[in-house]
C-alpha cells in the first residue's frame, strides 16, 4: 500500500494530466506572439520529457498535499497517516523529489512534510487525492473577508486585482481555485480542493458555472500571458466552490495553481486492493 502511494506521487510529478495537456495545446494553437510561443513550446516539451524519462516535470516538486476521504469502516484507517508519511519519505529518495521542507526557526531543510486534509465518510474505502503544489503559485494565495454588501461583484474585483498583482509569478497559464463562504479557513481549503475538478468541467450550479466562465474570460482579457510575458492565455480554467456563510461574513479564498498542475488519485478498498488514476 505504501508502494501504491509512492506510485501515485510519481505519477503526479512526472505526468501532467491529459485534461491539462489538452488545454495547453489549445493555448499554444491560439498564440501568435513569439515569447508566448517560446514559453508554451518549452512547456509542451518539458511535459513530454517528464513522461518519457519518468522525471519530475518541474523541479519544484512542491509541498505534497493529500486530501483523504477516509471511510470509517476501512481496516486501514489507523495506519493511513503513517503510510502517507513514510511513502513521501521514500518517494523523495526514489523518484527523486526535491526535499522541500524547511524548519521555520532554524531554516534547516528537513526533507518533505505531507500536508493532510481529512474527511471522514461512510463506507470501507479510502480515497486519496495527491496534489504536489509549488511555492511560486502557492505564494499568490489570498484571503479576503468581504462584507456581504460587496458580494459576488466584490469577489470578482478581488480576484482580478490579485491576478494582476501576481502577473508572471505563479507560472501562468494558471488554474485558479476560489472558495466562497464558510469561514476564513474553509474558504481557502475549498479553493484548494476546487483545483481537483478537471479542466473544462463546470460547477453543477448554473449560476456558479456562469461566474467561473465570466472570471476566466476577464482574466484572459488581461493579456498577462504565459509566464507574464504577454499573450492570450493567462488562465486555463477557474474553479469556484461555495459553502454557507455567517450572515455578517463573506470570506473568499483564492488559490493559484501553475500550469504544471500535478495531481493523482488513489483508492484503497477493504481488501487492500488499490486503484490509481489521474
Amino acid at each position: 500500500m505504501e508502494d501504491a502511494i509512492i506510485e501515485a506521487i510519481r505519477l503526479a510529478v512526472t505526468k501532467i494530466p491529459d485534461d491539462v495537456v489538452k488545454s495547453l495545446q489549445k493555448a499554444y494553437e491560439k498564440e501568435n506572439s513569439p515569447t508566448a510561443r517560446f514559453n508554451l513550446e518549452n512547456i509542451l516539451n518539458a511535459i513530454e520529457i517528464g513522461e518519457k524519462e519518468q522525471i519530475p516535470v518541474c523541479q519544484d516538486t512542491g509541498t505534497v498535499t493529500f486530501f483523504v476521504e477516509a471511510g470509517v469502516r476501512s481496516p486501514y484507517l489507523g495506519v493511513i497517516k503513517e503510510l502517507i508519511t513514510s511513502a513521501l519519505e521514500k518517494a523523495t529518495r526514489e523518484i527523486p523529489l526535491r526535499p522541500n521542507t524547511v524548519d521555520v526557526l532554524t531554516n534547516k531543510n528537513i526533507g518533505n512534510f505531507p500536508i493532510i486534509h481529512w474527511e471522514l465518510v461512510g463506507g470501507d474505502k479510502i480515497k486519496i487525492a495527491v496534489l504536489p503544489k509549488g511555492g511560486g503559485s502557492e505564494n499568490c494565495s489570498a484571503l479576503a473577508m468581504l462584507t456581504p454588501a460587496e458580494g459576488f461583484e466584490g469577489v470578482k474585483q478581488f480576484v482580478i486585482e490579485r491576478v494582476k498583482e501576481c502577473g508572471g509569478k505563479p507560472c501562468p497559464p494558471i488554474i485558479l481555485g476560489i472558495g466562497i463562504g464558510g469561514s476564513s479557513d474553509l474558504a481557502l481549503k475549498l479553493a484548494k480542493k476546487a483545483l481537483l475538478r478537471p479542466i473544462g468541467k463546470r460547477h453543477q450550479d448554473e449560476k456558479i458555472a456562469r461566474f467561473e466562465e465570466e472570471l476566466l474570460e476577464e482574466i484572459n482579457s488581461l493579456k498577462i500571458g504565459p509566464m507574464g510575458m504577454g499573450g492570450k492565455t493567462t488562465a486555463l480554467d477557474v474553479k469556484v466552490e461555495v459553502a454557507p456563510r455567517h450572515p455578517a461574513s463573506f470570506p473568499v479564498g483564492i488559490v493559484f495553481q501553475c500550469w504544471a498542475h500535478r495531481k493523482a488519485f488513489l483508492e484503497i478498498n477493504k481488501d487492500g486492493e488499490v486503484r490509481i488514476w489521474q
Partner: protein, 172 residues
C-alpha cells in the same frame, strides 16, 4: 534576434542585448535563491562574481557517483528583488529566472535578466552538461545551495535589458 553567448559576460555583450532577444547561453552558471543571496551579500560570493550569471533555481538532484541534475527550472525571481541592487553591484552581469524583476537595477548596473519558462524543469535540465561544484550544501540544503553548472546552449529570452526595458507589464 538570436545570439550565442558564453560566460563570463562582458559589458559590451550585455549592452548589445534587447528585451525579447533569444539567447543560447553556454559556460558556467551559479544557482542562488533567497538564503544564498543573503549569504553572498553578507559573506561574499564563493565564486568570482565578475561577469558571472546567477540562476534562480533549486534543482532536483540525484547522487550516484557524482551529482546528477534531474530537473532544474527557474524559481520566482521577484523574491530576490530585495537583494538585486547589491548583487549586481559586485559585478554579476546576468540573472536567469522567471516572472521578472525590478528593471531599474539592471539599467543602473548594465546587467541583463534572462527568462526561462517556469515549471519546465525537465527541459532545462537538458541544457545542463554537468555539475562542476556545489557550495554551502550542508548548511543550506539541496534547493538553496549554490550549484555550479556547466551549461550548453541554454535557450533563454531577454526579459529585461541593460536599458531597463522589460517584457513584463506588471509591477515588481
Amino acid at each position: 534576434m538570436a545570439v550565442k553567448l558564453t560566460t563570463p559576460l562582458s559589458e559590451k555583450e550585455v549592452l548589445k542585448l534587447r528585451a525579447g532577444d533569444i539567447v543560447y547561453l553556454s559556460g558556467v552558471i551559479y544557482t542562488a535563491r533567497d538564503l544564498a543571496h543573503r549569504k553572498i551579500i553578507e559573506e561574499g560570493a564563493p565564486f568570482d562574481p565578475r561577469g558571472a550569471v546567477i540562476y534562480h533555481c533549486g534543482p532536483v538532484v540525484r547522487k550516484r557517483e557524482n551529482f546528477e541534475i534531474v530537473s532544474a527550472g527557474p524559481t520566482t525571481s521577484a523574491r530576490m528583488n530585495k537583494y538585486l541592487d547589491k548583487i549586481l553591484s559586485i559585478g554579476i552581469k546576468g540573472i536567469i529566472g522567471k516572472g521578472g524583476m525590478n528593471p531599474e537595477p539592471f539599467r543602473k548596473h548594465k546587467a541583463v535578466y534572462f527568462a526561462f519558462t517556469g515549471g519546465a524543469g525537465s527541459l532545462a535540465a537538458k541544457s545542463i552538461r554537468r555539475v562542476v561544484d556545489v557550495h554551502w550544501l550542508e548548511e543550506l540544503g539541496i534547493p538553496e545551495a549554490v550549484w555550479v553548472f556547466e551549461v550548453k546552449d541554454f535557450p533563454l529570452i531577454v526579459g529585461i535589458d541593460a536599458f531597463g526595458d522589460s517584457l513584463y507589464s506588471n509591477r515588481h
